[in-house]
């Protein structure tokens, strides 16, 4: 089940909210845990057992760590738990990838059946690992009840597409959280805005993106429309999903970490990664980069640390070399920025900084989008006029006409301008009376329009099935 579906919004969610409201305070986690399992079961009827297994692994090992704190037994429990978590992740996510590459590399023929990828495995594995590691480091206390761990791992608002919620950030709220109409209302507005981003913008642009390689009369313009469309699509899809997760969290009294902060307004790639998928960046910083020594090592080792982190970041996104290339590209750009790039960027006009960031982001997302090297090369060649095709074609002009307003709205939507306009309106002496009615009506309209798109069965891809 995904948030951007009629079955979730108008069937699952109201029933869960009703049951949650009717459940006495001390038992609310039971309702959340069971609802979350049903949510996951609806999409993964078999692999929901994996989710439970993962929770059991981390529950038992963190209890052992707590009990034998400071002894080798605690360390062994931590190592065992990490091996088991990563083992599951590697088996289910990278099993086929590893075997395929071994076959190619060693010219052998190991034949294994296709291993299906459980939805959200990368997210919940990272979350469960963060729990055990935080307990080991003494940054969090091990939960005495399995329900606490189970609820944290399975919590449906953030289960399948993040943000990657670290245990210590919700530890208190798992046992004691405040519910209020105001917080619920904040959650509603965040959820509806996220839903609008996903359904009205990301899904609409996905139609344009998906036709890039199948148009009957390809042109340079068509390839650019596809590439720019994907830059917008992935942002609105991912940030929309994060907004929905954060909003749902608030409806149930949780405060999940922010995941996006207008990344396309960044002035350097370093800045971009402080704004894009922030919860993943923080996870890798705290659990990989810093344990490797971070920047408090020799220069060579520091380079290596950065490249390792970005190799893993790429691989986390999918079991394919294009994701690795994508990650390593960012690693290389970040190394460049750390040594010379950032100094240069501070000296040039802002507009060139933005152009530099958007250029790299555009190229990187073409790499990210196409798992097939052949397709990726075709798109790059098409974009840069290396195919024997015209600059524009009738179809690309029609698409430009069809999507130009969507691009404009999307472009504005990636900036902080709408937020600033809303703040200006709410503070204006003359217009502030209008702010509330405009905001309420806009939100209602947004909800209705997204429902219309969902009811009509519009294209509704789920991009995170590889994560």
């Amino acid at each position: 089940m995904v948030f951007s579906s009629i079955s979730f919004i108008y069937y699952f969610l109201p029933v869960v909210l009703l049951l949650y409201a009717a459940t006495p305070y001390r038992y609310k986690n039971i309702t959340l845990f069971v609802s979350s399992l049903i949510f996951y079961f609806a999409g993964e009827p078999v692999f929901f057992l994996l989710l439970i297994l993962s929770s059991i692994i981390d529950y038992t090992h963190s209890r052992t760590i707590e009990r034998y704190r400071g002894t080798p037994k605690a360390k062994r429990a931590l190592v065992r738990s990490i091996i088991m978590n990563l083992g599951l992740l590697v088996f289910f996510k990278y099993g086929n990838f590893i075997v395929d590459n071994l076959n190619t590399l060693l010219s052998i023929n190991i034949d294994i059946p296709d291993i299906p990828l459980p939805i959200g495995i990368s997210f919940f594995t990272f979350q469960t690992m963060s729990y055990t590691i935080d307990v080991y480091r003494g940054q969090a206390k091990a939960q005495k009840s399995f329900l606490g761990v189970g609820t944290f791992v399975a919590l449906f608002p953030q289960l399948i597409a993040g943000p990657i919620v670290r245990y210590k950030s919700v530890e208190k709220e798992l046992t004691q959280r405040v519910h209020s109409l105001d917080l619920f209302g904040e959650g509603v507005s965040r959820f509806v805005v996220g839903l609008g981003k996903k359904v009205l913008l990301a899904n609409t642009l996905a139609v344009l993106v998906e036709k890039t390689l199948s148009v009957s009369d390809p042109s340079v313009l068509q390839y650019w429309l596809g590439a720019i469309g994907f830059v917008f699509q992935i942002y609105f899809d991912f940030s929309g999903y994060s907004d929905m997760a954060i909003g749902l969290g608030k409806m149930f009294g949780f405060h999940f970490p922010e995941n996006f902060n207008y990344p396309y307004m960044a002035r350097s790639i370093t800045d971009f990664w402080r704004r894009w998928h922030m919860s993943l960046g923080q996870w890798f910083r705290d659990y990989v980069y810093i344990p490797l020594g971070g920047n408090r090592v020799t220069k060579k080792r520091w380079f290596l640390n950065i490249l390792i982190v970005w190799f893993l970041t790429g691989l986390w996104h999918g079991a394919s070399w294009n994701y690795v290339l994508w990650g390593v590209l960012f690693g290389a750009v970040l190394i460049f920025e750390k040594f010379v790039g950032l100094k240069w960027l501070q000296k040039i006009p802002k507009i060139f900084c933005h152009a530099y960031v958007l250029g790299i982001v555009l190229v990187s997302f073409v790499i990210f989008k196409y798992e097939s090297t052949q397709d990726m090369i075709e798109v790059f060649r098409g974009m840069f006029g290396q195919l024997d095709i015209p600059l524009v074609s009738r179809e690309s002009m029609m698409d430009l006409r069809q999507y130009i307003v969507t691009f404009l709205i999307a472009g504005i939507g990636t900036t902080s301008w709408p937020k600033r306009w809303a703040q200006t309106l709410s503070r204006s002496n003359t217009l502030k009376k209008l702010y509330s009615p405009i905001a309420v009506i806009s939100l209602f309209m947004l909800m209705m329009m997204t429902t219309g798109y969902l009811v009509d069965g519009s294209f509704n891809p789920f991009l995170y099935f590889r994560f």
């Binding site: 969610l13 109409l181 105001d182 619920f184 009957s216 969507t406 209705m448 219309g452 798109y453 009811v455």
Partner: protein, 359 residues
């Protein structure tokens, strides 16, 4: 303000849920011309293999309260917010709806002409055989792109056909010969077409519109009207009656008792009013007129269903075959051909471009 959001959201969810519970399950969508997903049957097998949840999702979509309102709202948003000139591949020019399609390649057209040549070789080796492509409505739109691409399709057909004569009817028809809200042509506008075909097909005779009596249905909304999802004005559908209809026998293989009608008026109130002509899609229909003796075999689609009634007075036997439903290799099991028939392949541009639908 957050309180208003919270209360409003809860009310909306509760309202939809309650309406959903108390509203009877709908079985068809008139506007979309399809059966709606009904509540899926639960089974453990279906649950484990994901089919149950998949059907449940379709059920939720199909049974959403105010479904048609929401579909209309989507069209409105596309037009008024995103300022798209096409919605669901449809666009409007002077009240006429048009639908964009994937332009066929030469190979796709080759599939069509090869298919025709195969039927001719199998059943009609020595029969006079004619082929015509019914223009898509977009051929007459202001956007000349569609006319240009269809001209190309026409050229390919003419180049590829070797054993049948191609009849070009594109210049005979015009936009007003089509419905505003539908893909089809109007039957009452086909007299000029038949009088042109008569000059190309040896056995065909001219017809006189004055001998025909129109019957009118005023609430016709075509397939594009339904897909558009916003309210559209109904239009007039006419069907022409002739005195010879009293003497004929129609065998319709779509019906259990094989009985057929020229005009099935009940269909006017179903999801596709155009099915009034010969009761809509059928693999095989034979119309026998004892007062005449010539025979005509037509391979066609829904466009042919509205043309064929106009030919009834002049043929002893008309056989209308739709090979989307009756594979060509099984034809001989249902029909015996005498070798004396004239054969007309008359397909719409849509079918010509998607010949894989012909079996």
């Amino acid at each position: 303000m957050e309180k208003i959001y919270a209360i409003g959201f809860k009310l909306l969810l509760a309202l939809v849920l309650v309406i959903q519970i108390i509203t009877p399950v709908a079985s068809i969508s008139q506007a979309e011309r399809r059966h709606l997903q009904e509540r899926p049957q639960f089974s453990w097998d279906a649950l484990v293999d994901g089919k149950y949840m998949e059907d449940l999702e379709k059920y939720a979509l199909d049974q959403m309260p105010f479904r048609d309102f929401f579909r209309g709202l989507k069209t409105w948003t596309e037009k008024k917010v995103f300022l798209k000139n096409m919605v669901n591949d449809l666009w409007i020019e002077e009240e006429f709806f048009f639908k964009a399609y994937d332009v066929p390649t030469e190979e796709e057209i080759q599939r069509f002409t090869t298919y025709i040549e195969e039927i001719k070789e199998q059943y009609f080796l020595n029969n006079p055989t004619y082929v015509t492509m019914i223009p898509d409505k977009s051929y007459y739109s202001q956007d000349r792109y569609w006319a240009t691409t269809e001209e190309q399709t026409k050229e390919w057909i003419q180049e590829q056909l070797t054993t049948a004569k191609y009849i070009d009817v594109h210049s005979i028809l015009e936009l007003s010969d089509y419905y505003y809200t539908d893909t089809h042509w109007k039957q009452e506008k086909l007299f000029k077409l038949i009088n042109y075909l008569e000059t190309q097909i040896d056995g065909m005779e001219p017809i006189n519109q004055e001998e025909w009596t129109p019957q009118v249905y005023e609430d016709f909304i075509g397939v594009y009207g339904g897909q558009w999802a916003l309210p559209v004005n109904p239009e007039i559908l006419e069907f022409m009656r002739h005195e010879s209809f009293f003497d004929i026998v129609i065998t319709n293989y779509q019906q259990k008792d094989l009985s057929g009608q020229v005009y099935d008026e009940e269909k006017l109130y179903g999801w596709d009013g155009y099915e009034v002509f010969l009761s809509g899609g059928s693999p095989l229909i034979q119309i026998e007129n004892p007062k005449r003796d010539k025979e005509l075999v037509i391979f066609g689609d829904s466009f042919s269903s509205s043309l064929v009634p106009l030919l009834i007075p002049q043929y002893g036997k008309i056989t209308l075959i739709d090979t989307r439903y009756l594979p060509k290799d099984y034809l001989g099991e249902y029909v015996s051909f005498t070798g004396e028939e004239e054969v007309l392949f008359m397909y719409s541009h849509l079918i010509v471009s998607n010949a894989q639908t012909l079996r």
